[in-house]
């Protein structure tokens, strides 16, 4: 009877607690809506805080967002970002978890824009999330800066974006860069193999890479490609299957724990004694590979990011601020997040609003379109997708570990200009590659 009563008739104490909880929630929501209208520039930061992508990508990105926002609010960054906040308004970051899939992210995005009243959203690692959010951003007229996702389809269709921007590079650039690096450094190889995670990222990466390789090294034969399930963790059979084909180079777009497990197991099984592995996302584990990745492993950082970032005042400040706080150097996802926020600040301050006020979204979007801004990774031109997609160089190099210091560095770096690895506006990347990179301007 007691159980039945407690289920059907709330006790007075519980009722009061329930009313208090609803009242508290209402207060929090009211407070949230009010803050953005109280002069602060509120940015919704969306990145993985849980799940397998959190450790290698999401947490470094969130940490970078905190470091940059704190630095900007103090006016601590070097020129041209040495003014406080954004247009003089204090920045407030609302960081949310990207985990849960595209449907959940669309709900979270609507919540950020409509209830939390953010002035801009910066985020998204998953290509699926980017593809789902982009049309909603246009529908809600919400300024959205995609900082990491690599899908080539984001701006490839007929949609004419106004509010969506991407300050990172797409996956085709990664793989064209990898093919060009191999042509420049290993022109005599004849056999190549691959191992990719079996979902859109891995399949698209392998497709782009093999198409590009057919252009840069037409005599190379693809002898094997393995597509294990994402997050599989155990690659013994795949490593054997690759080994028996005796490739000279193994290409992999693996990331996170899968990449680290593959390198560890492939090294232990002797595959990496005989073949050089190309890791397009390798820079994100630079500090964790230690002596398990052989010297000479070809590493990419999805652009001039992380350890590939150039020496400039902005990057020097960023590396120090990040390292001082988190006791490790920023990897490429961190650099990309910093870049997206700096791009947003540059555009907002170009929008022409009075100092200390938050510019309207349309004005920021107009200023962002086709802009050129300075970043921790050098100069960024929003020069593709009608001014909504960044054009930047991409770098590759080889891994070198020093057992005395316990530190890894990247050497033999080659940087390919943006015009060398990015198709012209209006041309799909696969068509551009198949046509032999017409109009490419390589340094």
């Amino acid at each position: 009877m007691k159980t039945v009563r407690s289920m059907t008739t709330p006790r007075p104490g519980r009722l009061a607690a329930g009313v208090a909880a609803v009242a508290l929630a209402s207060t929090m929501l009211t407070g949230a809506a009010g803050a953005a209208e109280n002069g602060k520039f509120r940015i919704g930061i969306v990145t993985f805080l849980s799940g397998p992508a959190a450790g290698p990508f999401g947490i470094p990105s969130a940490n970078a967002a905190k470091a940059i926002v704190e630095g900007l609010n103090k006016g601590a960054l070097p020129a041209p970002y040495n003014t406080k906040g954004i247009n003089g308004a204090e920045i407030e970051a609302v960081i949310i978890d990207e985990a849960g899939g595209a449907t959940k992210q669309v709900e979270e995005f609507r919540n950020l824009v409509q209830r939390q009243k953010v002035d801009a959203v910066v985020g998204y690692i998953s290509s699926g999330d980017c593809l789902a959010i982009a049309p909603v951003a246009e529908e809600l007229k919400a300024l959205t800066v995609f900082y990491d996702c690599g899908t080539s389809r984001l701006f490839n269709d007929d949609s004419k974006p106004k509010y969506a921007f991407r300050t990172g590079l797409d996956a085709a650039v990664d793989n064209i860069g990898a093919a060009r690096y191999l042509a420049a450094t290993k022109p005599n190889i004849t056999k190549i193999a691959g191992i990719q995670q079996n979902y859109a990222w891995g399949q698209d990466s392998w497709s782009d890479f093999t198409l590009a390789l057919a252009q840069t090294m037409p005599k190379v034969k693809v002898v094997e490609n393995q597509m294990p399930k994402v997050f599989q963790g155990q690659y013994g059979a795949e490593i054997s299957a690759l080994s028996v084909k005796k490739p000279e180079v193994v290409h992999s777009s693996f990331w996170g724990g899968d990449m680290e497990a593959f390198v560890l197991q492939a090294n232990a099984r002797g595959l990496l004694d005989d073949a050089t592995v190309v890791l397009t996302c390798g820079e994100s584990a630079l500090d964790r590979f230690k002596d398990q990745a052989p010297n000479g492993t070809i590493i990419g950082g999805r652009g001039p990011f992380g350890a590939f970032a150039p020496q400039n005042a902005l990057n020097t400040w960023f590396v120090k601020a990040y390292t001082d706080t988190y006791s490790m150097a920023p990897t490429y996802p961190a650099t990309k997040m910093a870049q997206a926020i700096l791009g947003l600040k540059a555009a907002a301050e170009k929008a022409g609003a009075s100092a200390g006020t938050v510019p309207v979204m349309d004005a920021i979007a107009d200023a962002f379109k086709g802009s050129t801004f300075e970043s921790v990774s050098g100069t960024v031109k929003m020069d593709r997708a009608d001014g909504h997609q960044a054009l930047q160089p991409i770098s590759y190099g080889t891994y070198k570990y020093d057992p005395k210091t316990g530190k890894a560095t990247i050497e033999n770096v080659i940087t390919f200009s943006g015009e060398c690895v990015t198709p012209p506006d209006g041309t799909a990347s696969d068509a551009w590659i198949k046509a032999g990179f017409p109009g490419a301007k390589c340094n």
């Binding site: 849980s50 155990q234 054997s240 299957a241």
Partner: protein
Amino acid sequence: MLSFLAVLIDGTIYASWLFLVAAGLTVIYGVMRILNMAHGSFYAIGAYAAASAIGWYFADGTGSAGVSFLILIGAALVAGLVVGTLVERGLLRFMYGRDETLMVIITYALLLILEDAMKIVFGVNPYFAYQPYTALGRSTIAGLKVSNYDLVLIGIAVAVGLALWGWLERTNLGKILRAVIHDREVARAMGVNVRRMFTLTFLIGTTLGALAGALTAPSISVVPGIGVEVIVLAFAVVVVGGMGSIEGAAVGALLLGLSRAAAVHFAPQFELFVIYGVMSLVLAIRPQGLFGRTLVRKI
């Protein structure tokens, strides 16, 4: 020829890992009739405990492989027993005798709670504890290079399987447990303390899960979510072999391991679903699994 040999070696190594992962799950189901969805979390807790302990042991750059193996096993025992005791005493003992479906929901909730608890305790950054994996070196078998750690894993899986079989078939305690498996009401009537048997079984199951995670940790990057990934595979092994059967889990693991290795070498496009294809085939022919008993339902 080399590919066939590779299928045999890779399949056996993978099967050993599958068996270690699934053994605890099938023991718990066999005795307690609890389909423990949280088994993957015990695997992950074992992996995190081992990776943390190995990281601590090798922090100054020195350490021996032999000691590191003892640390792996010690970490698994501590993690499995401590967390298993907390879960069994703090939650499951209040639920014994409930419907099997309800137990699935309860252990699923436990899985979600433990996944978040692990993030709080261990964070979300990857743990890399490779020293025991690389310390043993590698062997070359007919031209194929194989990690010695993986070969040791085969030996451990065989030892665990034989120990479980011997315990159930050759000891008095095992006979009592088999009586509980056969009919817990009659066993209780004969004076068996069934609840104590449940506690013992659950701790063995969770420790086996933690041991599987600890032995896997040196060859992977330990990250959030690894427990969720393995639970599906563990279920596949247990279902194919027959739920609650140790020898069934061994044969199921071998069947799935060899099938997957063959797919990887000869038809990689089918690798993604070969395990589930084999599972479907077995269930279509023997719905109770290869070694499962057809149960008479009490009305």
